[in-house]
Amino acid sequence: MADVTLMKTPAETALVQAFESAKTALPGDGESRAQAFEHFAQQGLPHRRVEEFKYTDLRALLREVAPFAGTPSAEEAKAALAGAKALAGVDALQVPFVNGHFVRDAVDFHALPENVEIVPLAEALANGHDWLAKLSPVKWANDNPVYQLNTSFMADGVMIRIAGPVEAPVHLRFVTSATSAVATATRILVVVEEGASVTLLETHESTDGANHQPNDVVELIAGDRTNVQHVRVNAEGNKALALSTLAAKIGGEALFNSINVTAGAATSRHQVFAILDGENTNLRVNGTTMLKGTQHGDSTLVVEHAAPHCESRELFKTVIDNEATGVFQGKIIVPHHAQKTDGRMMSAALLLEEGGAMNNKPELEIFADDVQCAHGATCGQLDEDLLFYLMARGLPKKEAESLLVQAFLGEALEFVENEAVRESLVGTVEGWLKARA
């Protein structure tokens, strides 16, 4: 039973009540939920004196807990998906969710592409599916309060098994169409078996004007010699408080390339916990964040080189307009046996106006002696001389700024391998820039 005395704020009390009333209705055996919630309740909502949440004080940000969204009717789901825009032009297998619930009817289970198997999570939880044992592959996530909340409340999602090469991307499309504020908690598990390859797209959209509270977790277990390309897009509504986690465990001689593109939500925090679990694996985690107004965007990252001879590259680019705030916290962990690790982490932020702020905290925790690791963080403004050069050629100031911002963000986007996806993301950047002109 949760220790209510430690939970002080109204939001914390509301979470306890929400859990109490939801736990019997939520699918599956309540044991792991109860355990996760108890862990969460011991600390409560993390605040600024908790190191990992120093710049994103959830206790202050989460004032009121929105009710968890119910299952949408077939018509509601259909309408919501018809209006979805994120990566709309990209040819992909659609795996859609509306208001946090898997839209089963939208997937033709009899005609899934070769090497793709999908199991609805709610059903799996209710029936005690074998694969459930694979959940929570990354230990670093288990202590994380955002992840604990997801484990406590996860109501739906899918488990996907990729058994070999998959041609077309798999698109996990999340749309929240409710007009009043709702909370959602989805969990995705993707198991990519030895030698398999897949492109995973993940987009999150919600209605403007409502204080939605999505908490999404994607877990990935990729075997040896796999190639996983992952692209996540946060296009949440302008009032959303969006929390998300990617937990990935990657085998040897594998490639994993992930990018998160944030343009939406009032407040967002995307957490990545990755473990390189086999030798000679190549990991790239990039971020492209565009913030304006009073938006707050947090990218938090822990990469553990648990095996020797791996290479990781982390490149985060943040553009901050008006009074927005960006956060980057990145940590590369290299245990003593992970010799010949090659890790490079970089966070670069551009402040377009005086009022914005960026908090950069890159860290290395290295216990091996034969490694090459580096990290860097910069925060600056657009180069005045370059702006003048462009303006002297006739470009109005905003247009000149846009070209330079596109070039800046392009350095992170260029690693997206799928051309249609990359072009769509470039379009997102262009749209964002046009809106400020």
């Binding site: 005045e384 003048f388 050069y389 002297a392 006739g394 100031k397 070209l403 596109q406 800046f408």
Partner: protein, 250 residues
């Protein structure tokens, strides 16, 4: 065409232009020569509209319009073009993207339709051929990894595409090999017309054999201290600026 009256400019409390007067007429090619640090690049930046400078006095009129009240892009649309002494590298901005954005921005400012892509490419190819700029150079990010001479050629390519009415060439000859100097000069000469004026800043008479000026001005201590015909350049080449230094000291 261009009229500069009593221009006084300082930067960080350091006065660089001291009551400069200069007139360049339509169709004229005016050369400016002068020792290092005399303010030639400063003058070109101030005409083009760089922000760093404090204008204490004077005015700059282009066809009667006060340039000092315009933003750099408005000046460009009004016809001003500066070929930079040190062209800047812009990583991540493809040369073609940049050229197209520049041309269309100016066309838009003048109320003209944007160029279609085929039309744009045709124009770029024609100008690149004339200036012997290899096509794969245009595929790279603007000026990134270009040699000094390639950057200068790229500036002239931009000038040829933008068709400005008042062109400032700030030491375009420096860094060019002998063949490139000829090619670039031919490019400039091809643009000479009764409606267009040039301000050619150089240290060497050599360039003026290729681009023959109508007038030559000597700049010293932030002022034009002497003006003459093209023979003045030969005189400077022979005698240097010693005379002007003494007159300054006196």
């Amino acid at each position: 065409m261009l009229e500069i009256k009593n221009l006084v400019v300082q930067i960080e409390d350091k006065r660089i232009l001291n009551g400069l007067n200069l007139t360049v007429n339509k169709g004229e090619v005016a050369a400016i020569m002068g020792p290092n640090g005399s303010g030639k690049s400063t003058l070109s930046y101030v005409i083009a509209g760089k922000e760093d400078y404090e204008i204490l006095d004077g005015e700059i009129l282009l066809d009667g319009e006060n340039l000092l009240e315009m933003e750099p892009d408005q000046r460009a649309a009004a016809g001003v073009f500066l070929a930079f002494q040190y062209p800047l590298e812009i990583p991540g901005v493809a040369s073609m993207t940049f050229l197209k954005a520049a041309i269309n921005a100016q066309r838009k400012a003048r109320g003209e339709d944007e160029l279609t892509t085929p039309d744009f490419i045709k124009r770029v190819n024609a100008a690149a051929t004339q200036l012997e700029i290899p096509k794969d150079m245009l595929k790279r990010a603007l000026n990134v990894g270009f040699s000094g001479g390639e950057k200068k050629r790229m500036e002239i390519l931009q000038m040829a595409l933008l068709q400005p009415s008042f062109c400032i060439l700030d030491e375009t000859d420096s860094g060019l090999d002998i063949d490139a100097l000829r090619i670039v000069s031919e490019g400039v000469n091809a643009l000479r017309s009764p409606d267009r004026a040039f301000l050619v800043i150089t240290h060497y008479q050599r360039l003026l054999n290729h681009i023959v000026p109508d007038t030559v001005h000597v700049m010293h201590g932030g002022r034009i201290v002497r003006s003459g015909g093209k023979e003045l350049a030969l005189e400077l080449e022979a005698n240097g600026y010693a005379d002007y230094r003494e007159s300054e000291a006196a």
